[in-house]
């Protein structure tokens, strides 16, 4: 038997998979917000006068990306608490 079926058999519920899903969501959020930050910092370096505009756009984009990652966290919580 493969390792996955052994794991599922041992515990009888899918809490581990929910935790793996939440971890993957964290990876996604990290990569996404990292890209946003990278773009923002590079553009501030190119044009320091636009600092305030860039900062507010960066925060907006970061919150949107984080919202998507938290959808996956909610799905994991539903698996565990239902």
């Amino acid at each position: 038997m493969s390792m996955m079926t052994i794991l599922l058999d041992a515990t009888g519920n899918s809490y581990g998979f929910a935790a793996i899903g939440a971890g993957l969501a964290a990876i996604g959020a990290g990569i996404g917000i990292g890209q946003v930050g990278k773009g923002a910092v590079e553009s501030i370096a190119r044009q320091p006068e636009a600092l305030n505009d860039i900062r507010s756009n960066m925060i907006l984009a970061a919150a949107l990306v984080e919202g998507v990652a938290l959808f996956a966290v909610i799905a994991a919580l539903i698996v565990i608490f239902k």
Binding site: I59, E66, L70, V73, I74, F81
Partner: protein, 416 residues
């Protein structure tokens, strides 16, 4: 490499012997790089060998007073009929709140939740479910999951303490979320009306603002200049009351929820759902014909793509407020759960061994302080994001057709 290692269950032994052999071989031929890599592999697998222990399968019928971290965690982020302050020894210090019940059979019942004695006693034919009663229900054969019976819920019981499933109860109690919302409301009304009266009396209009005006005025001008005017254009004044109300209500509820002992209002899906529905209503009421035209007849799209695109666009009308709801809810509840988890970890470690509990507490406390600062940032950020996205959606709703010139040029470029 079929050595009889499989007598031992430990695969690390196999990996260790593999790396050790490669290390020995490369040592002879003096290839430094491969030597170091296999040495590292050998040391690492030796480390893995040494830290493995025997774990026995758990007996599920264990002692009933085992710590249940999941339940404690949920108790902190969900609604309750009392403010739970602290547990000293075996007594819990709580502030009881009024319970207001209506059932068509029994009529109105209003009493304090202390009469329930944390689920220990019945009052007036009502009982609050706690762990022991839940076990009693399960033993009596009631399907708790199907009937949605969980810890803290108020049910109606018969004279001999059995669940009376025929009585329908409408729970209008002032739970801790309701009380906290009312307190925040009173606080906001008091602050804002006081400041408005100051401005009406002329203080801070032509002179510098004084007192608490200094705190509120930058925030209001920030919302007006970063959210209102850029997104909404000329109609910004019409929507400012709504945007400011939403921003301050979410912000103050977030901040008050961070104080230990208070309720988790914004991390409640019902609360954020109502905010999202109100935002949806405001967006729908500010749409014009051009908006609906773009949804049911997207310009510059060939006919067969329209069949797929129109349902997607209709769905998009609903997913935007839905994302607002889920974003606020998930951010706030995740923050509260992380803080509660850190505190619970100390208790879990303490159950394993006293030394581990004491040793882990400085780390947990330091990390908790760090997470508290992040939560304050998240409180401001989530309120700002909710407000800004609502303003963006409203502005998208009343866009005027002067963009059609650009659409036509795009069209020509596609058709070629």
């Amino acid at each position: 490499m079929h050595i009889n290692i499989y007598k031992k269950e430990n695969h690390s032994y196999f990996i260790f012997s593999y790396y050790a052999l490669i290390f020995a071989a490369n040592l002879g031929e003096s290839m430094l790089h491969k030597c170091l890599k296999s040495l590292l592999g050998a040391v690492f697998s030796l480390f893995l060998l040494s830290i493995t222990t025997c774990v026995f399968a758990q007996n599920s019928a264990q002692n009933k007073d085992k710590l249940k971290p999941g339940d404690i965690l949920m108790e902190h982020v969900l609604d309750a009929h009392e403010f739970h302050i602290i547990n000293i020894g075996s007594t819990s210090v709580t502030i009881p709140l009024p319970v207001i019940l209506y059932s068509p059979q029994k009529g109105f019942s209003i009493f304090m939740s202390s009469k329930f004695n944390h689920g220990g006693t019945t009052y007036n034919g009502y009982r609050m479910i706690n762990d022991e009663y839940l076990d009693k229900l399960i033993e009596a054969g009631v399907d708790v999951k199907k009937n949605n019976l969980s810890n803290g819920k108020i049910i109606s019981v018969t004279v001999d303490d059995k669940w009376d499933s025929n009585t329908k109860i409408y729970d209008f109690s002032m739970t801790r979320n309701v009380v906290q919302m009312i307190i925040v409301l009173a606080l906001l009304v008091w602050i804002m009306l006081g400041i408005a009266r100051k401005y009406k009396n002329g203080i801070g209009v032509k002179t510098a603002p004084t007192g608490f005006q200094n705190v509120i005025e930058p925030v209001i001008t920030f919302i007006r200049d970063e959210v209102g005017k850029p997104m909404l254009g000329e109609k910004w004044e019409k929507y400012m009351p709504y945007l400011l109300t939403v921003f301050f209500f979410i912000l103050i509820n977030n901040l008050v929820g961070l104080i230990p002992g208070t309720a988790n209002v914004t991390g409640n899906i019902a609360f954020t759902a109502v905010l999202g529905v109100i935002a949806f209503v405001v967006i729908i009421f500010s749409t014009n014909k051009h908006y609906w035209g773009h949804i049911f007849n997207p310009p510059g799209v060939p006919g067969w793509v329209k069949i797929i695109l129109v349902p997607v666009e209709i769905l998009g009308v609903f997913t935007k407020p839905f994302a607002l709801i889920i974003r606020l809810f998930a951010n706030m509840i995740a923050g509260h759960m992380m803080l509660a988890c850190l505190a619970l970890l100390i208790i879990i470690f303490g159950n394993i061994s006293l030394v581990a509990g004491y040793g882990f507490s400085p780390i947990a406390i330091a990390f908790s302080v760090f997470v508290y600062f992040i939560e304050i940032l998240v409180a401001f950020l989530q309120a700002f994001i909710f407000t800004m996205l609502t303003a963006v959606f409203i502005s998208q709703a009343f866009e005027t057709p002067h963009h059609d010139g650009e659409h036509n040029t795009h069209d020509d470029a596609i058709i070629m």
